[in-house]
């Protein structure tokens, strides 16, 4: 797909950016959401691997801001504007938020995937960042990578093969 050049990896509950050349990747998204932002003019791509919808539930201790939708998005925007992105140019794409196992019953945490997706959308709306495309939900895992030159989001899954957004 893309030759192995300057790959920036984003771990679980982690975020990062890549500029001018290279790709940014996160692997094995299940109920987590891979949220990406892109500024075409300066070829800057950012990605967050969001695990939970809201930091409200975080217990005391150090807050990992990349882990929650409500804190990861502001941080990603901050990081990208610091590198010269314009907030009005930012566009979003996202993938993940699956429900890996289907249960007829089960508590709220069983629905964590869809809740993560909803939360990401809510905060994108609040920041007035248009969501250009998404591949979310269903019951399978995804690996995603964004090419910072084209802003294309590549999605790989075991069941559905490859996709481009």
């Amino acid at each position: 797909m893309i030759e192995e050049q300057n790959i920036v990896k984003v771990g679980m509950a982690d975020l990062n950016v890549v500029k001018t050349s290279g790709i940014i990747r996160t692997t094995g998204l299940g109920s987590c959401v891979g949220l990406t932002l892109y500024d075409k003019n300066i070829q800057l791509a950012g990605m967050a691997h969001v695990m939970l919808p809201s930091s409200d539930i975080a217990r005391d201790g150090q807050l990992n801001i990349a882990k929650y939708a409500d804190t990861a998005l502001p941080e990603l925007v901050r990081k990208m504007t610091e590198l010269g992105a314009s907030r009005s140019r930012l566009v979003a794409k996202m993938a993940g938020g699956a429900q890996m196992f289907n249960f007829s019953s089960g508590g709220d945490h069983m629905r964590i995937g869809p809740r993560n997706v909803e939360a990401c959308k809510l905060f994108l709306e609040e920041y007035k960042i248009p969501l250009l495309a998404e591949d979310t939900g269903a019951n399978y895992g995804r690996t995603i990578e964004m090419d910072c030159i084209s802003g294309i989001l590549f999605i790989r899954s075991v069941q559905m093969g490859k996709k481009e957004l």
Binding site: M12, G28, G30, G141
Partner: protein, 208 residues
């Protein structure tokens, strides 16, 4: 809060023994099903960052077959029975006489048979734990998935995600002969279950 600050070696040993008893029972059940001796490795108890947990089964993108159970009762948690897809086919063949289709994915009947095998093993794992700790622990209906290990295991870490970036994992590998083909049990107790387990086993709680 430091989730694991008080888990000194002694407590880790207690958790290892808990894993040992559960997995021992499951190994016996599997051995009876297969009519073949099944060994198991000594359980490992580890506190691992989320990132590292999928490495235990070959990395986040490794394709695995997993039967997942939410453990309900007095010491809740998450339980995974994880196999390679090949080991899953082997089990189907030997236990149910099903010659798995060549297709990449398991069909509905195969999935149902695999869930049932997982169910039997998880049931024996948990019932021995419940006997040992005198705490109620029952599995929910099994959920089955064949997918990237990262995506699957992540599902069992949500409770920990609310508290930190590490989880405690009791990991036991089954062995048949010299080959590690039979699969792995991952028990990830919810954070609040530790104290209950220790308490019921008479382990003094030194923390506040």
């Amino acid at each position: 809060m430091n989730l694991f600050g008080n888990l000194e070696g002694f407590k880790m040993d207690v958790l290892k023994e808990v894993g040992n008893i559960g997995a021992g029972n499951a190994a016996t059940a599997l051995s009876q099903l297969l009519d073949k001796p099944i060994d198991m490795a000594v359980p490992k108890v580890q506190i691992l960052p989320f990132e590292k947990i999928a490495d235990k089964v070959g990395g986040p993108e490794q394709i695995v077959l997993a039967v997942f159970f939410r453990v309900e009762g007095e010491a809740p948690g998450n339980l995974f029975f994880i196999l390679t897809p090949e080991a899953g086919k082997g089990l189907l063949h030997r236990l149910a006489g099903i010659e798995a289709s060549d297709e990449e994915f398991f069909n509905e009947m195969e999935q149902s048979a695999l869930s049932e095998i997982g169910n039997i093993l998880a049931g024996s794992y948990l019932s021995s734990l419940a006997d040992f700790t005198k705490l109620s622990m029952t599995p929910t209906v099994p959920g089955l998935a064949m997918d990237m290990a990262g995506a699957i295991l992540n599902y069992g870490l949500i409770q920990f995600g609310e508290m930190g970036d590490d989880a405690l994992l009791i990991d036991t590998t089954f062995l048949e002969g010299k080959e590690e083909v039979e699969g792995q049990f991952f028990l990830i107790p919810d954070p609040e279950s530790f104290d209950k387990i220790f308490k019921s086993l008479g382990v003094p709680l030194t923390d506040d």
